[in-house]
């Protein structure tokens, strides 16, 4: 608490430093249409993309869709218990969802195969392997990486059967690539990439998704303490800079994989 005021943290990091290593692995699941593993320090999160063909919703007959789900596995922390998702998992899914679906990152009209009859629906599952803090940023990065390396399965138009064992070269149509950074306010200081201990004692947080151009595409405030407009402005600046930092890591890893 007092350390935060001096710009120091328990583990010796500066307020705006991420833990290391930050690592991205893709294709960690052959059964998924796209998948990724993100490590930030000791936090490890997986994301997997599955696709299916469904009837579009009545009010959007020319659109497919995307759903994001998060599972805080009891495997990943002694805090989590088996059973239906608790509010923390629901919020993680909703915040990641806001960053990707609500920001219109995916061109859902391109997912439609036949008007009012058949369209691709994408589900991204976020799975925690070890929760050592900052699931929000790890989940956002993993979800985007899984989307970016996903390939549609082979669909036989005449039989109507999807062959999940075979992948096409077609990728998911992305219009922008938002990355979410959550900035925490603890005892008057602003910081990123909280450890589990820091997450237990924060006053407020703001998750800010920004695209490649630095345009903000989704927001979520959390925590009980209020934020001043000046703090919000400063949080935005931090989020834009840090999103660029995470985006570089992501794109470098994906580029390496391509070669």
């Amino acid at each position: 608490m007092q350390l935060a005021k001096q710009g120091k943290r328990l583990d010796g990091r500066g307020l705006l430093d991420y833990r290391g290593p930050i690592e991205l692995n893709t294709e960690i699941s052959w059964t998924a249409e796209g998948s990724a593993q993100v490590r930030i320090g000791e936090t490890v999160v997986l994301a997997g993309v599955k696709m299916s063909l469904e009837k579009p919703y009545n009010d959007t007959p020319d659109e497919g869709g995307i759903t994001i789900n998060a599972e805080l596995l009891p495997l990943s922390s002694p805090e989590y218990e088996p059973g239906p998702p608790q509010i923390k998992a629901i919020e993680l899914a909703r915040v990641t969802d806001r960053g990707i679906r609500e920001s219109k990152a995916i061109d859902v009209k391109k997912l439609c195969l036949r008007l009012g009859e058949k369209a691709w629906f994408i589900t991204i599952d976020i799975i925690t392997i070890n929760d050592a803090g900052n699931l929000f940023d790890a989940a956002s990065m993993a979800a985007l990486a899984a989307l970016k390396n996903a390939h549609f399965p082979v669909f036989d138009e005449t039989t109507g059967v999807i062959d999940y064992h075979k992948k096409t070269t077609t990728k998911i149509p992305l219009q922008k690539e938002p990355i979410s950074v959550t900035v925490y306010k603890i005892n008057g200081s602003l910081l990123v990439d909280p450890s589990s201990e820091e997450e237990e004692s924060y006053d407020a947080r703001l998750s800010i998704a920004t695209d490649e151009k630095g345009i903000i595409s989704a927001l979520q405030k959390g925590g009980v303490a209020p934020l001043t407009v000046e703090e919000i402005a400063r949080m935005m600046e931090i989020a834009v800079v840090k999103a660029k930092f995470l985006r570089n890591i992501l794109n470098t890893e994906l580029e390496k994989k391509r070669k």
């Binding site: 997997g48 009891p74 990943s76 929760d131």
Partner: protein, 235 residues
């Protein structure tokens, strides 16, 4: 015998390439990663810790509980809806029975050791991979154990007895049997035995004997994973 060459080119008694690593989940008291071909299992052990609800407590010794789960994107077909199902519940139960004979929790009355196994990708043999991962994680957690458990599926594909079936062999268009078996390393006793399909009683015994033989290779990999973990800790 029509099945003269295996679909993936392995010898009949050849298991898939396996990899194992202990201590992969820092939050857990013990953990492991286990990969057999395209089937991957993570296991985490938490405990001994106090067991709730209290009426489940055993004042003589601690108990173990297994939770087996396939991740939503880990099936070879459509997405699996999360939230558990009868199959996962049954596998969790037979896993608990397969591991129970080797753990000694008499020093920890009224406690539970929870074993969570999660699979990010699968190609048959998931309960066996789950047991192999769980056993490494239990040892990594320092749980008192009398023996190690190694598990592998054996079976008969169109007349040929084979070890460690892949999904395409389970689905081979002929008479197929799929027999997951767990073997204790020292006593060679069987702690998991199930079967789907059909097989003669003579061939069943041959298949179980093949499981006993190949489980030795799995045991070596499990042991090495633990040795590597302790070597890392000493550094």
């Amino acid at each position: 015998m029509a099945y003269t060459k295996r679909l993936d080119g392995r010898k009949f008694d050849e298991i898939r390439p396996i990899e194992a690593k202990a201590g992969v989940i820092p939050n857990a008291d013990g953990s492991a990663y286990f990969k057999a071909g395209n089937t991957v299992a993570y296991a985490a052990v938490y405990g001994p810790r106090e067991l709730f609800p209290k009426h489940l407590q055993n004042p003589k010794k601690g108990i173990i509980r297994c939770y087996y789960n396939m991740m939503p994107f880990s099936g070879s077909g459509e997405r699996i809806r999360p939230g558990g199902n009868r199959r996962a519940q049954e596998i969790s139960m037979v896993m608990t029975n397969a591991l129970n004979p080797v753990v000694d929790l008499s020093a920890f009355p009224n406690t539970v050791v929870d074993i969570f196994v999660e699979l990010p990708q699968t190609d048959a043999g998931t309960r066996c991979a789950a047991i192999c991962a769980a056993c490494i994680a239990l040892a990594d957690a320092g749980i008192p154990m009398k023996d190690m458990v190694s598990a592998v599926a054996v079976g008969q594909v169109d007349g040929a007895i084979v070890a460690d079936l892949i999904y395409d062999e389970e689905a081979y268009p002929a008479i197929v049997s799929d027999i997951p078996v767990a073997i204790l390393h020292n006593s060679k006793e069987v702690t998991l035995l199930q079967m789907d399909g059909e097989i003669s009683k003579e061939d069943l015994i041959k298949a179980v004997e093949m499981a006993q033989k190949v489980s030795e290779k799995i045991y070596q990999v499990q042991k090495q994973a633990l040795k590597d973990k302790f070597a890392r800790e000493e550094m």
